[in-house]
Structure formats: structure tokens, C-alpha cells
Amino acid sequence: MSHQCVRCGKFYEDVSEEILKGCTCGSHFFFFIKKEEMKQIKEEQIKPIDLTLTERKEIEEDIREIIGPDIDLSKPVILDLESIRIKKPGQFEIDLVSLFKRKPLVYRLEDGKYYIDIATTFQLKKNFDEVQPNYNKEETEE
């Protein structure tokens, strides 16, 4: 598994310290790149996500708004691109089958590293007036 910084496009290996602390450019958002996709990128069979700096910033903003204020953005955010793929700012591809499956809000991959399911976030937001454990906060604090 590899990751690509949403803002500057730099690639990081799975265990990289930068994913936990944030990219050298200051961003905490990372695209999740599947193993087979990374292999294809290395072999130049497919192009990596190629966007301008402005487009990357726009995507970062979009993600912030879509996820909502409940997520601790000082922690690394690895985007669940299985459910929503942002091709370019304003262009979204939605995998309905994946969204209809109720996945947990946050997957803990390893220490300080989480995989956030955007869809479930809304379930929590919707029930904000009900008694809910502060699941999100607990999960993102390490």
C-alpha cells in the first residue's frame, strides 16, 4: 500500500513517518493507492493522479466540507476512494454499492493511522442530538 499527498502529489510508502506527522508540504490528506495501482504507476502503465496545485487545494477543501467538522484534521486522513473518487475538483464518482454497505467510520490500520469512511460520518452527524459515544475522537487520538 502506498499513499500520495493530496496537496503536493508526493508518494509515500505505507510505513512512512510523514503519513503520521503530515507531508513536508503541511498537508494531512493522502490518497490511498492500491498495491496493483502503484505497481502500474512504477511501470508507467498508468499515470499517477496528475493535478495542478490549485486543483489539489480545491480537492482538499472539498474533502474537508464533505467529511464535515467532526474529523480531527490534525491527524492523517487517508481517503476512502472506494466510495467516492474525486477525479478533479467538482467531478465526483460515487460507488453506490460500497456506500450502501455500512462500513465503520474509522478503520485503524496501525498506530496513529486511520482510514476514514466518509459515508458513516453522516450517520453520526445525523444523530448528533442522540447520545453517542465520541467514537471519532476516541479513534483518532493515539
Binding site: E58, I66, G90, Q91, F92, I94, L96, L99, F100
Partner: protein, 221 residues
């Protein structure tokens, strides 16, 4: 002790009344199929108000909209519904499509982002529904991933479904295609815009409520 008894009585009575009345009826479907137009028609028929704004530009509804306590009467019986109009569900949202309707790039991108949130929100609300009216555009091909996924998920979650083939006022309207695509469901043809065949819709809304009620009873046993 007294508090416990009071709580028990409150739960018992609220449970009884929620079974008897106030059904949460969700309107689901792809964008521009007429969900808000239908919800508006029902609201107008029974409350005199409208529920939401409609537009020719897809994804006009980008947030869940409600109308509480809509009392519908059919053949002397009365039932109360909470109408829940949901944003259209789609697999691809592209701001460029909105620009074709005259929106500038900034507004089109904002609309795309809100529409994406809307899709997520619609899906997340599904479990709260007592019954769902799937509103399809009767002039379009019903064999789409969106339609099949929505209906498949409703069945899996045991939520009573009614399919509405909307836009029966249009020349290329074809209810047979929808009936052939979903043969195991009741399909009501109507024109929400002109209020055509609403009587059949209300008859089926009552049938859905009955279905829901019997499902709840079975679960309680």
C-alpha cells in the same frame, strides 16, 4: 420506582401510536425524476403548502427536506405521514454538466460538492424510513445501476416499496418498461406536475402503511 413506571408507560404509548400512525415516507430516486414535485403535490393536496424548490437543473435538492404530520384521507380512513424528500442518487456528479444549464464554474463546482454530500445523506437516511416511494422518470430507461441498487437495498432492508412512474403527461412516457424492469413491484403511473392519477397513489400509500404495520407486528411476536 414511579419514574420507571412513568418511563414504561410513555414508551408503551409512544410505541403504540408510532405503530398506529405517523409513517415516515421517503422519496428516493435518481436526480430529476420528480421526487420533490411529487412530495410538493402531496403537501399541497393535504396541507396547502409546498415542501421544496424544484428546478430543471439536476440535483436541485441537496439536503434532506421534511414535512411533518401530513394527514391523508382515503375512503374515509385517515393516516398521518412524515414526508421525507431526499437528494437524487447518482453514480457520477460532474460540475460541467451543470454549466450546460448556464451555471458559472464556481457555482457548478459548489453544486457538485453539495450534490455528492446529498447522495451520501440520502443513503444514510434509508434505515430511518418506514416506507419508500421510488420515483422514476417514466420517459427514461429504468435499467440503471442507481435504480437497481436502490430497490435491491430496500428489499434487503425489508422496507416496503412503491415505484412511481412519473411524468405520465409526456409523450415518450412508457410505464411498461418500468413494469418489465421491476415485475415484482406495484408501479403507479402519474404526473406529479399536473396531479394526474394521485388517487391511485394514495390508495397505494395506505397499502404500504398496512404492509409496514403487519411487518412491525410480526417482528414484535
Amino acid at each position: 420506582m414511579i419514574k420507571a413506571i412513568k418511563d414504561f408507560m410513555r414508551k408503551l404509548f409512544s410505541g403504540l401510536f408510532s405503530i398506529k400512525n405517523n409513517f415516515k415516507m421517503g422519496f428516493y430516486g435518481p436526480p430529476n425524476s420528480g421526487k420533490t414535485t411529487l412530495a410538493n403535490r402531496i403537501c399541497k393536496d393535504w396541507t396547502g403548502d409546498e415542501l421544496g424548490k424544484t428546478s430543471k437543473i439536476p440535483h436541485e435538492t441537496r439536503e434532506i427536506q421534511f414535512k411533518e404530520k401530513v394527514e391523508i384521507e382515503y375512503k374515509g380512513n385517515k393516516l398521518t405521514f412524515k414526508l421525507i424528500d431526499t437528494p437524487g442518487i447518482s453514480t457520477k456528479i460532474d460540475y460541467e454538466d451543470f454549466m450546460k444549464f448556464g451555471l458559472n464554474e464556481k457555482d457548478a463546482k459548489k453544486r457538485a460538492k453539495e450534490a455528492t454530500r446529498g447522495v451520501i445523506e440520502s443513503i444514510r437516511w434509508l434505515d430511518d424510513m418506514d416506507m419508500v416511494v421510488v420515483v422514476l422518470d417514466g420517459t427514461k430507461n429504468p435499467y440503471t445501476q442507481v435504480n437497481i441498487t436502490i430497490i435491491g437495498n430496500l428489499v434487503a432492508r425489508k422496507i416496503p416499496v412503491l415505484i412511481v412512474a412519473n411524468k405520465s403527461d409526456q409523450r415518450n412516457f412508457n410505464v411498461k418498461k418500468i413494469e418489465a424492469a421491476f415485475p415484482q413491484y406495484r408501479v403507479v403511473s402519474l404526473s406529479a406536475k399536473f396531479g394526474k392519477n394521485m388517487e391511485e397513489f394514495y390508495e397505494n400509500a395506505f397499502a404500504l402503511a398496512k404492509q409496514r404495520r403487519s411487518m412491525k407486528k410480526k417482528r414484535k411476536r
